[in-house]
Symmetry: C2
Subunit: 163 residues, 2 copies
């Protein structure tokens, strides 16, 4: 049995999802979005994200944290903003002694849908199916966070099978 905390990082909306894997069976333990008010100073926003992540880690005791890497193209400003949120995610994991793993959006989509170019709705539907949820998870940031956790579980299972 393994529990993985998946994160779709962002300073305005940070998606999280907690997935439990037992053999080939998967279940969602938690999932949602940490939303910040944009008029709130960034240092307070990051402190709130950190506090929420510490709570999630304490509650679910995951074995690892899986973070979705963001594709920036040439937008240094976006990269910088997401980088700040990612730094806080890695710090929260580091303080709890948890290892972190990064996955590109393509790898996450391929793990969940079988295609690196799958659309948002397709990812939401497949995450719902794989986790046996009654409906596809909403909003998409939460679905993406659950997807990256599933991606890590699949990779970990594969590494174990190879090793």
């Amino acid at each position: 049995m393994v529990i993985v905390l998946g994160i779709d990082p962002g300073t305005a909306n940070l998606g999280y999802g907690v997935v439990l894997a037992r053999g080939r069976q998967l279940a969602a333990l938690d999932g949602g979005v940490i939303t910040a008010e944009s008029r709130e100073p960034l240092e307070r926003r990051l402190a709130r994200i950190h506090a929420r992540l510490c709570d999630l880690i304490a509650e679910h005791r995951p074995a690892a944290v899986a973070v979705e890497d963001v594709f920036f193209g040439q937008n240094a400003r976006t990269a910088f903003a997401v980088g700040q949120a990612r730094g806080v995610v890695l710090l929260s994991a580091g303080l709890a002694g948890l290892p972190c793993y990064s996955y590109t959006p393509q790898a996450v989509k391929a793990a969940v849908c079988g295609s690196g170019s799958a659309g948002k709705e397709q990812v939401q539907r497949m995450v719902g199916t794989l986790l046996s949820l009654p409906e596809p998870p909403e909003p998409d940031h939460a679905a993406d966070a659950l997807a990256v956790a599933i991606c890590h579980v699949h990779g970990a299972a594969l590494r174990e099978a190879i090793g």
Copy 2:
């Protein structure tokens, strides 16, 4: 009397400098660089940076944190890396309830040297002069951190004079 913690952010080398201002008089209380081993996982590096910043804040009890903004050009990868360190700096300040202020390198150079295009050595020399140090501070990341703290003190003095 006001104490300001200045930061030159980076994940490999993070410069810090603590400046005390009493009227027009300035003094350096502390300064240095938090260096990370590049083979260390990023989450551990960020946790170590966080721990050191918490120690510095607890020891010197600054009223504010001043952070140098980095100019990225079009390099999203660098922006992302520096963003992660900056996120941890802002979080460390936010957890202590300290307000954060950002300054461009140009503003910092102008505040310290009178010119936004001053070179690294010129900044080091002027920081040494303004803080009455026997020698220019080394390395340059520590000097830059002291410079951004001085820049904030000057700006705060100006804002007080205006307000």
